[in-house]
Symmetry: C2
Subunit: 225 residues, 2 copies
DNA sequence: GCAAAAGTGTTTGGGATACACCCATGC
DNA sequence: GCATGGGTGTATCCCAAACACTTTTGC
């Protein structure tokens, strides 16, 4: 480790891509920037990671502080996404950004306001930095996760109908699945159990409620889709 | 971005997991540490990433300097792996390490010596830090990549036999494949072309040489394996 | 009874797997 | 001619995909 100049580290930042499904669309959590650069633009919640704090912890602190969302309690699933060099990207100079992706449902945004909002992924405003690319990348990763893990559970209530389950897949993949094939396949994966509860919702036959056998993330035997 | 204390960034480091196949085994590039901590232990090549330098560039510089391997010229494939928080891990204090995985073949280690070597992945010495875990993680990622991309080409000469191709898969997955099924499947993927060259190697029928249609990394239509 | 969503089986095609023998060469 | 690795085909099974009607409920 021989270096002659004193070592100066790049700025370290963290950014969060937090997804939920609401009103039948996939949404991502955004905040409106209060300061330059990109003042007034929408951006992923993110901020500085100082020495002594893990990126995971910094993420929790920053998302709580900037968007009023608790990544521990509100998200059923979170994973590291990618680390972006922003040496050319950030007008303030060299920063390295560690990004995370999280998924939840029915997230209440404290201070929901014109400054913090979940917005539909397929209808985003102009975003600061290259956050649009990061969201695209996270969406791809999310689709991949749903094909070989039980990660979809993060978007669902503890008890859910098969139609809700299928709908989550359809929203995230933005395409339709055949109802009979979807059910046959998902049930064969042995990830969920039928309960004896029913979901009543309007003038039609009530639906059986199911639950995941395990709340932990697990890889599937056969990949889905 | 309101913070009251002056911002101090964690140390940023990069580490490289560089694989090659040699003598029928998967090997990883290691260097012997010249300084504390872990002086005298084998470790992944890595070092400090200062402000103004991308992680990718720092990796290139450090691997060249510490191990005499040129990640641009010697590696046919490189990708970012994961970013590790080492706040609890590194005796020197808080560092964040961005790791990369690369693959090549017939890599000449300049200064090959008792301080730099490719070592068999399934027979590693004690390693510094948690580098054994990082290598395990990289190996898993590598297997995943081979199932859905043409990344295996990074381990092969421009012209190669089907037996060499199959052998690369068998070494990386540490299991055997059926020769007829392997060939049928790989040829059906439409990734490689037969050439009119032959490979002669001893007292047996010579083998046809093949080449990849594209040297770029591409995803497969159907996943392999 | 009617509208609305839940629930349910069968057929077909293609890829995965299992498996054994002949071919071309160097010596 | 013999040892060595190269090269090839078929039968079976399982999963994916396509496809339409009956059931249960609220009003």
């Amino acid at each position: 480790m021989d270096y002659t100049k004193p070592y100066i580290a790049p700025t370290l930042t963290v950014d969060a891509v937090i997804f939920q499904i609401s009103n039948g669309v996939l949404e991502v959590l955004l905040v409106k920037r209060a300061n330059d650069p990109f003042k007034g633009s929408w951006a992923l919640p993110g901020g500085y990671n100082a020495v002594g704090e893990t990126t995971h912890h910094a993420l929790h602190r920053i998302v709580e502080q900037k968007a009023g969302v608790d990544t521990e309690k509100d998200l059923a699933y979170i994973e590291q996404l990618y680390t972006f060099d922003t040496v050319d990207r950030d007008p303030r100079g060299h920063a390295v950004s560690v990004t995370y992706m999280g998924c939840g449902r029915d997230i209440i945004v404290r201070d929901a306001s014109s400054h913090t909002a979940f917005m539909a992924v397929n209808n985003l405003p102009e975003l600061a930095y290259d956050h649009a690319n990061i969201i695209r990348y996270a969406h791809e990763r999310l689709k991949a996760k749903l094909t070989y893990t039980n990660a979809v559970s993060a978007f669902l209530a503890p008890r859910f109908t098969l139609t809700q389950l299928q709908s989550a897949y359809e929203i995230i993949f933005d395409r339709e699945f055949d109802k009979r094939n979807f059910r046959k396949k998902f049930l064969s994966l042995d990830l969920i159990d039928e309960t004896d509860e029913l979901w009543r919702d309007g003038a039609h036959r009530p639906a059986k409620l199911y639950k995941f056998k395990s709340s932990k993330l697990q890889a599937l035997e056969r990949s889905f889709d």
